[in-house]
């Protein structure tokens, strides 16, 4: 349908408004993170930084070592950043690998209990995490796994497996069976077919499952608040701690926020196609 000029102007005004709503708060955090603390309370407000500083990032990353209230912020921050990366990556790798193997079995292999097992696993999508949190806590204490990477990774895997499995099975189902049958006639074994034919073809689906798992694990708060309180503390648990003191250091908060934004932002910018397809498979089906 042809679009008249006034109509197009209206659309672009609407889009501009939508972009300001979506990106404005993120812009403000990034802009504040390079603004000197002394400029923060300037009135009338400056929408663009008037002076540039890397002071907040230096304090956060320990470039010019500075101490706040006797606590070395940068040591905490560096280890929290590392902890976030480790736990999110480990959960993603294991979760997608386990879901891919199982998803293939649920799609192509006949074994006793296949249907009830699949339904039981996928049905847990409807159960919120906190319904199992307290027994998990006692279990993890019993196993001495509170505040360990193994413990937190196991919990993330169990939390994100159902969605990854659901997504990957629908991907496997959409692959042409003829290809696998031809390989089978040529004498290829099941595992050869899985690793050499099915998984390469399912790469977009694997990417989507990996993105959803990674973002999910990267953004978790309540779970690491309970299960990763000190040694394996991730960014999401550390950042609010900057805000619970009597004096709230917004320079540190916005700088730390900016760093926590970078990783999801890269994923969205470069992998948005897979992310959107994964979101749709996870929610619409």
């Amino acid at each position: 349908m042809p679009q008249s000029l006034p109509f197009r102007i209206m659309i672009w005004l609407g889009v501009a408004l939508l972009l300001v709503w979506s990106l404005g708060p993120i812009y403000w955090t990034l802009a504040s993170s390079i603004t000197p603390t002394s400029d923060f309370s300037a009135r009338p407000i400056h929408f663009f930084p008037q002076n540039f500083t890397l002071d907040h990032f230096e304090r956060l990353l320990g470039i010019n070592v500075d101490r706040i209230g006797g606590v070395e912020v940068w040591k905490q921050f560096r280890s929290a950043l590392l902890n976030s990366v480790i736990s999110a990556l480990a959960s993603t790798v294991f979760c997608v690998a386990i879901a891919a193997l199982g998803g293939y079995a649920f799609t192509r292999l006949k074994f006793p209990g296949r249907r009830p097992l699949f339904i039981a696993v996928v049905a847990t999508l409807a159960i919120p995490g906190y319904a199992v949190l307290i027994p998990l806590y006692r279990l993890m204490i019993g196993l001495h796994m509170v505040d360990t990477f193994v413990g937190i990774t196991l919990i993330y895997i169990s939390a994100f497996l159902p969605l990854a499995l659901w997504l990957l099975r629908s991907v496997f189902e959409s692959l042409p069976l003829a290809l696998e049958e031809a390989a089978q006639l040529d004498g290829a074994g099941r595992l050869y077919i899985l690793f050499r034919i099915v998984l390469p073809l399912a790469a977009p689906g694997l990417t989507a499952a990996a993105i959803l798992t990674f973002l999910g694990a990267w953004g978790q708060y309540m779970v690491p608040l309970i299960f990763s309180p000190t040694n394996t503390k991730p960014l999401t648990v550390l950042i609010p701690e900057f805000a619970t003191k009597n004096f709230i250091d917004y320079g540190l908060i916005t700088a730390a926020g900016s760093i926590a934004i970078v990783v999801p932002a890269l994923v969205v910018i470069f992998l948005n196609r897979y992310l959107v397809s994964g979101l749709l498979a996870g929610s619409v089906k």
Binding site: I119, I127, P135, R138, Y221, P240, A243, Y250, I261
Partner: protein, 305 residues
């Protein structure tokens, strides 16, 4: 490690007749083990323990029947947090649905650069809830925040206005943060449904002389209504599970406390483990009832052979 355990389990069970069945069981064993140990066992444990008194500060775990459940009825703080949660659900689902459909309709009209607009719109959803909370905490900041800064530039008397001082504005402020994070999901779902509507329907309507508004109400809305239902259910469940933003922005404040924070406080601060478990079961059941439509959809499309 899990693979090895899986194989030994398999050998004990032994008698699988064909190779596919054995391989199938081996491949799903990691899933079954993980889910059994970390989801199904804890879930059964939650139900069982919610009928006992479990408190690390008190000896023994006596059976107390449904006392944990009946105690909820006289728990005033819990009542207030339920009310807060229902307010969050109402505000969030309404705003996400109305503005989400509007935004999706807008993006659907864009011809160039649509994927970049979509990427920008999805970004808030991809960020950790905690980061969203601190982004907005800085915006709401009374003395130096962006919101008061803008309002003051517009000539309004909002210099040093504190948004979390009264209940109504605090709840709205916290809801906005949640809506900012969850609306992208509605937009993605609704936009996908809009894009699946065949062009010839609009062509036919145009030949019949229908205007844009008429097309939207007569063609678009009816055809995207299943997607709207799904988006609303997702939004409802997300609002029931609301924790991160409320906890970071307002902590334990009773004015804004949703039920999930109530569970967290009862369990990990008051150490009323079994009361917390009973509470989390009730919240689960309520959110399950509300999301029943969603679950039914999942089952319906889960067909084998």
């Amino acid at each position: 490690m899990t693979a090895v355990t899986a194989i030994t389990i398999e050998k004990k069970r032994g008698a699988a007749s064909n190779g596919d069945a054995v391989l199938g069981l081996i491949l799903v064993a990691p899933i079954v083990l993980t889910m059994a140990a970390l989801v199904f066992f804890p879930l059964v444990d939650t139900v069982w323990d919610s009928l006992h008194r479990i408190n690390p500060m008190q000896p023994g775990t006596p059976f107390v029947g449904v006392a944990n459940y009946t105690n909820m009825l006289s728990d005033a703080d819990l009542g207030r947090s339920w009310i807060n949660t229902f307010i969050y659900v109402a505000i969030a689902v309404f705003a996400e649905t109305v503005f989400g459909i509007l935004a999706a309709a807008l993006i659907n009209q864009v011809r160039v650069g649509r994927q970049w607009i979509l990427a920008a719109v999805v970004l808030p959803w991809a960020l950790p809830g905690v980061v969203n909370a601190v982004i907005w905490m800085w915006i709401y900041q009374p003395g130096a925040g962006l919101l008061n800064g803008i309002l003051t530039v517009l000539g309004l008397p909002f210099d040093n206005h504190v948004w979390f001082n009264d209940r109504a504005s605090a709840i709205v402020a916290v809801s906005v943060v949640h809506i900012w994070r969850m609306m992208p999901l509605t937009i993605v779902i609704v936009l996908a449904a809009m894009q699946s509507i065949p062009d010839h329907l609009y062509e036919a309507a145009r030949i019949d002389g229908a205007g844009r508004l008429k097309m939207f109400t007569a063609i678009t809305l009816p055809l995207i209504s299943p997607a709207i239902a799904i988006a609303m259910t997702n939004g409802t469940v997300a609002a029931f599970n609301f924790f991160d933003e409320a906890w970071v922005l307002t902590g334990a404040s009773l004015d804004t406390r949703p039920v999930l924070i109530q569970i967290y406080l009862e369990t990990f601060q008051n150490l009323h483990f079994s009361y917390g478990m009973a509470l989390s079961l009730v919240v689960t059941v309520v959110s399950l009832l509300v999301s029943l439509i969603y679950v039914l959809r999942v089952y319906r499309s889960t067909r084998f052979e």
